[in-house]
């Protein structure tokens, strides 16, 4: 059935193909905007802004996102090589870079316009509430590997930096609506305007309703709906400076299923219902030139998140201020330094078998960093060295140095190497949380697992050795290879101690005590390679393959019972993808993406391959229609283990959309 569907699509494509070749342009009478759309016949030098960056960077562009058919930021992240994007339920994702993927991947930092969205309660990113109007995203920079020196703690295995467009780039009206199976319905609207020459602004609103995943037991608890709105204003100021004020607010209902443990029989209940998650943020950013050759950025934000889940509530206020100054010293040195402070205050309410002590806690985080980028040989060799010193309330001072170098032996190739230290600092989940989970009934009484807080939990530490190579062997081909070896120390463990009996609260019950610790160490290593091939001006291929191996070992005396297995077994050893993008005649575009992921032994999750297809048709310059098929290769497939809520699979789905811009 699927094959016939493909065939129909391809026949449609063939009909659309005859494109008219245009005659030579009269460059003289074209506007700058028109010129920007003309392709050059000879491509040389820096093929991408990222080509000289001394790190494994992949940039997902606005065009990539639009053409992928992605409806959420996690789906868009599937475009980046070496990123493991898995959907646990319809409304929960586990996303990781270079390993340690989990519902809340603790070693990856995510920023949206400079605002850190890492949760310091549970150590990780709640992807279901990280959203914006997708068309407002200018680019997503995905950095594989550590970036603690510039970005701070928890940028251990990778950084996802989401940057939205300036308000000058979103002038006019934009309306999009659509729906289908799984994507039940969605609508977005944006208006951008200006006041005088110096103030540009936009405002947007969006709503969507998404269906549940595939449930072997038929219990479709994970459908969700949410609404979000926001704005951005950019002022141009005198002296080549600018000020940006932006903000967002969201409110949604997210279907959940949880097991609630109780000390009275039957000891465990299944809770099902909607979590209500809401929040908002305001960001102010002042930046521009300072002195003869420098520039600065002063940014501050306030962020509020409310999580009213089935088993606990948290309300958190975060206030952050960050200053950065870059200056050229002589002609060979580019010096960047900065300082930042963050205050994050959370209040929790929970049940007797899952609670934080203290319930409310305010965390302070302060840091300073400096980095010098030296042009050793102009156009050929650059070296940068830097260090960040950070102070947090859990472990005190943390030092994160790095040395990176880029060698450009010719215009068409670049080699980079880096040695970096990064840390993942503790969160409240390790130091303040107690959870009881009912395991089974023994003849004398019930048996529970009890996770106790560990106030002595230390930072997880990593030293990374990276090497990368980028080459353009032909005008139409761009290839990158990067490899890394990470040494891991004080890695998170779940340590179990001997079982004991407890009489209170009644009835008499048995406890297996667990505690998060740092009793694992090990290494991870991997290789990622990408190729971008422009077969013809209208047909582009992109492919990538990544290999990852994680080996963890228990320290002498370690009592770890689960993290060694999870750390090694929840990241795929092999991931590959292939994309084709075709620009056909009459404004028709066709995109196809195949991704293959090897098995996750700790799930267990079997290996799978699936594909997405998008057919777009720009009917008029203002109107585009699109039909998108997602996860097409099988009726449903599992991507990540569901844990106590049971496995939920990703269904095959199709949706259509109409977009109007003016």
């Amino acid at each position: 059935m699927r094959d016939r569907w493909f065939l129909g699509l391809l026949l449609g494509l063939l009909a659309a193909v005859p494109a008219a070749a245009q005659s030579t342009q009269d460059l003289r009478h074209m506007s700058l905007e028109d010129l920007m759309n003309i392709e050059v016949t000879t491509v040389s030098r820096t093929p991408e802004p990222s080509a000289n960056t001394p790190a494994a960077v992949y940039v997902i562009t606005a065009d990539d996102i639009r053409r992928s058919g992605a409806r959420s930021i996690p789906e868009a992240l599937r475009l980046a090589p070496g990123v493991q994007v898995t959907r646990i339920t319809s409304d929960q994702w586990a996303i990781g870079i270079r390993g340690f993927t989990d519902r809340l991947a603790r070693s990856m930092l995510v920023l949206i316009d400079g605002r850190a969205v890492y949760s310091t309660l549970f150590a990780g990113t709640y992807w279901e509430v990280q959203d914006t109007l997708l068309d407002d995203i200018d680019r997503i920079e995905v950095i594989r590997g550590p970036g603690g020196t510039l970005w701070g703690a928890n940028a251990v295995n990778g950084i996802i930096n989401i940057i939205t467009k300036r308000a000058t780039d979103t002038q006019g009206t934009y309306v999009q609506a659509g729906g289908g199976s799984f994507q039940n319905g969605f609508a977005s609207v944006r208006y951008g305007g200006q006041h005088g020459d110096d103030l540009h602004y936009r405002a947007y609103g969006k709503v969507f309703d998404r269906g549940a995943g595939y449930h072997p037991d038929g219990d479709e608890f994970d459908d969700w709906r949410t609404g979000q709105g926001g704005f951005r204003a950019d002022w141009s100021l005198a002296g080549n400076r600018s000020f940006t004020l932006q903000g967002d607010a969201y409110d949604g209902r997210y279907g959940q299923r949880e097991i609630l443990t109780d000390f009275v029989a039957p000891f465990a209940h299944t809770l099902e219902g909607d979590a209500r998650l809401s929040g908002g943020n305001v960001v102010g950013r002042w930046e521009g030139a300072v002195g003869a050759s420098g520039n600065f950025r002063l940014q501050t934000y306030y962020d509020r998140t409310n999580r009213h889940e089935l088993r606990f509530n948290e309300e958190r206020d975060t206030f952050d201020v960050d200053f950065q100054h870059t200056l050229n010293v002589a002609s060979a040195h580019r010096l960047t330094w900065g300082a930042a402070y963050r205050l994050s205050s959370g209040r929790t309410q929970s049940v007797a078998t899952e609670f934080f002590t203290p319930a409310d806690r305010t965390d302070n985080l302060g840091s300073v960093f400096a980095q010098d980028e030296i042009r050793v040989v102009p156009e050929r060799l650059r070296v940068s060295a830097g260090v960040k010193v950070e102070h947090n309330d859990y472990t005190g001072f943390e030092v994160q140095p790095s040395v990176r170098g880029t060698w450009t032996p010719s215009e068409d190739q670049t080699v980079f190497a880096a040695v970096t230290r990064a840390v993942r600092t503790p969160s409240r989940v390790e130091t303040d949380l107690e959870i009881e989970s009912f395991l089974t009934r023994l003849p004398p009484g019930p048996l529970f697992l009890r996770l106790s807080p560990n106030p002595d939990f230390q930072s997880e530490k990593l030293i990374a050795y990276e090497l990368g190579y980028r080459i353009r062997p032909a005008q139409s081909l761009f290839v990158t290879v990067s490899g890394f070896v990470n040494q891991l120390q004080d890695v998170l463990s779940t340590d179990a101690r001997p079982l004991f009996v407890e009489a209170s609260p009644a009835p008499l019950h048995f406890i297996i005590p667990l505690q998060f610790g740092n009793t694992l160490h090990g290494a991870s290593e991997g290789v990622e390679t990408t190729a971008d091939y422009r077969m013809t001006p209208w047909w582009r291929w992109e492919g990538s393959y990544s290999y990852l191996r994680i080996a963890l070992t228990r320290d002498p005396g370690s009592l770890d019972v689960s993290q060694e297995t999870r750390g090694e077994g929840l990241s795929p050893r092999h991931q590959a993808q292939l994309r084709a993008s075709l620009d056909l005649a009459h404004g028709v575009t066709f995109d196809w993406m195949l991704r293959a992921v090897s098995r996750l032994p700790a799930g267990p999750v079997p290996a799978y391959a699936t594909s997405d297809v998008r057919l777009g048709w720009r009917v008029t310059p203002q109107v585009e229609l699109a039909v998108v098929g997602q996860d097409l290769n099988q009726a449903h497939h599992l991507e990540f283990p569901g844990g106590s809520m049971g496995n939920v699979e990703v269904p095959r789905s199709v949706y259509a959309s109409i977009t109007w811009t003016r």
């Binding site: 520039n295 013809t536 047909w539």
Partner: protein
């Protein structure tokens, strides 16, 4: 599937807008930039012609540029393209184009605080102190602007130009790795 896709290739003729040689396209960009730049009025008054000076071995580009700007005027003065030797003082030019780092340093030092629009097309041109850097990204010509350098030269860059820039230095977004 693959057979069908291959058939699509065989049937598909060349895509929409015909590609243009890189040097010609860059020349077209260079010819447009001055329209978005405001020079101090005294500077414009003191010049008889509006000269775009091209340094070094950029023969194709210079020829294309001459062809494109012939007959055009800039702020009331006829535009002219001149080839200029590296040792010469370029400060009577309104626009200077430099094609490589080797030539750039000496030239940029001479005109850094003069009202001269400097344009280059090699990586790190902005690091050397230039104002507009052309580069090819994804097969299309793009440019970066250094507001810091423009300010030092006493030039005002129009917001329409900044809006189209890939990046504007001096109002930098994000962090550098």
């Amino acid at each position: 599937l693959i057979v069908a896709v291959l058939a699509a290739v065989a049937l598909a003729p060349v895509h929409a807008a015909a590609p243009v040689a890189e040097s010609r396209l860059k020349a077209a960009f260079i010819s447009k930039f001055p329209q978005f730049v405001v020079w101090p009025s005294a500077v414009i008054a003191s010049h008889g012609t509006a000269d775009i000076c091209v340094f070094g071995p950029a023969g194709d580009l210079r020829a294309a540029l001459s062809e494109i700007v012939s007959g055009d005027t800039l702020h009331g003065h006829g535009m002219r393209v001149r080839e200029i030797a590296v040792g010469r003082d370029p400060s009577d030019c309104l626009v200077v184009f430099v094609g490589s780092h080797a030539e750039a340093v000496a030239i940029l030092q001479r005109v850094a605080d003069r009202p001269v629009l400097t344009i280059g097309d090699y990586p790190e041109f902005l690091d050397d102190g230039g104002i507009i850097e052309l580069r090819v990204v994804d097969g299309r010509v793009r440019f970066e602007v250094s507001m810091t350098a423009a300010q030092r030269a006493g030039l005002r860059i129009g917001s329409q130009l900044l809006r189209l820039a890939l990046n504007v230095r001096g109002v930098e977004k994000g962090k550098r790795i």
